[in-house]
Amino acid sequence: MRLTDLLGATVTGNDGHDAGVVVDVRLVQDGPILGEIGAAYRIHGLVIGRHTAGAHMGFERRNVRGPWMLKKLFSLIQGPERYAEWDAIASIEEHRIRLNVGGGALAKAEPPR
């Protein structure tokens, strides 16, 4: 599976409603030892927003610094981002990810710790 299989995919809750699209994939370094880097990175969850437009620049995220006007603009475009942990994923299909929870139950996306 590639990162680009996930980015931009529509996320659908178990209530059948779309929760948004995948704007980023959060990884945590807690896997088996892989080599030079140490512990492997595993997928922790998905950051879900309204659009992928401009998401790769990250201006809408609280932990990314940038001109306030761009941050404001992209925050308006993206809306509040939500976070789905890996356990909340029921299936991954082409261009669509189905959750085992409703989209409304997703927590607000916080910056990676």
Binding site: D24, R26, E36, G38, R42, I43
Partner: protein, 144 residues
């Protein structure tokens, strides 16, 4: 990496699209070796669980899918025609050779050991070198 260093990095969280994608790759000698165009994840074999980041994908084979549409298909088609193997995928850099990453990605091996260099070398030897004037470097031209 020592045990202490490993403990220090364990549990670190990153947003892959923001903190890895499009970063420049530098080899063990400081030479540029392409960009991070995509990432490969592998599902663990022994048990169910989240996929593990196993490789960086670089070069036109990795970029084509990201661009998508007609342009992406065209890039993939050109890459397939030019590539020496019959079914070429993107150049794959195992994540185990990555030493560290921040505003760029540092790998622990020379560029010549990476797949991305093999394709570039093949294009240079089979195509670029056959173009008239290809043997003249810009440095030689400026001396004339």
């Amino acid at each position: 990496m020592s045990v202490d260093e490993h403990e220090r990095f364990s549990g670190r969280m990153i947003d892959a699209g923001l903190q890895l994608l499009d970063r420049q790759i530098l080899d063990s000698e400081g030479w540029t070796a392409g960009n991070v165009d995509d990432l490969e994840f592998t599902f663990p074999e022994e048990a169910a669980g989240p996929p593990i980041l196993t490789a960086i994908l670089a070069g036109p084979g990795g970029l084509a899918r990201r661009i998508g549409g007609r342009l992406g298909a065209w890039i993939e088609s050109v890459h397939t025609r030019l590539h020496p193997s019959e079914h070429p995928g993107p150049a794959r850099i195992p994540f185990g050779v990555v030493k560290r990453f921040d505003d760029h990605v540092e790998v622990a091996v020379p560029k010549s050991d990476l797949e991305i260099d093999r394709f570039e070398r093949w294009v240079r030897e089979r195509i670029i070198s056959k173009i008239p004037g290809a043997d003249r470097s810009p440095e030689e031209e400026s001396r004339r």
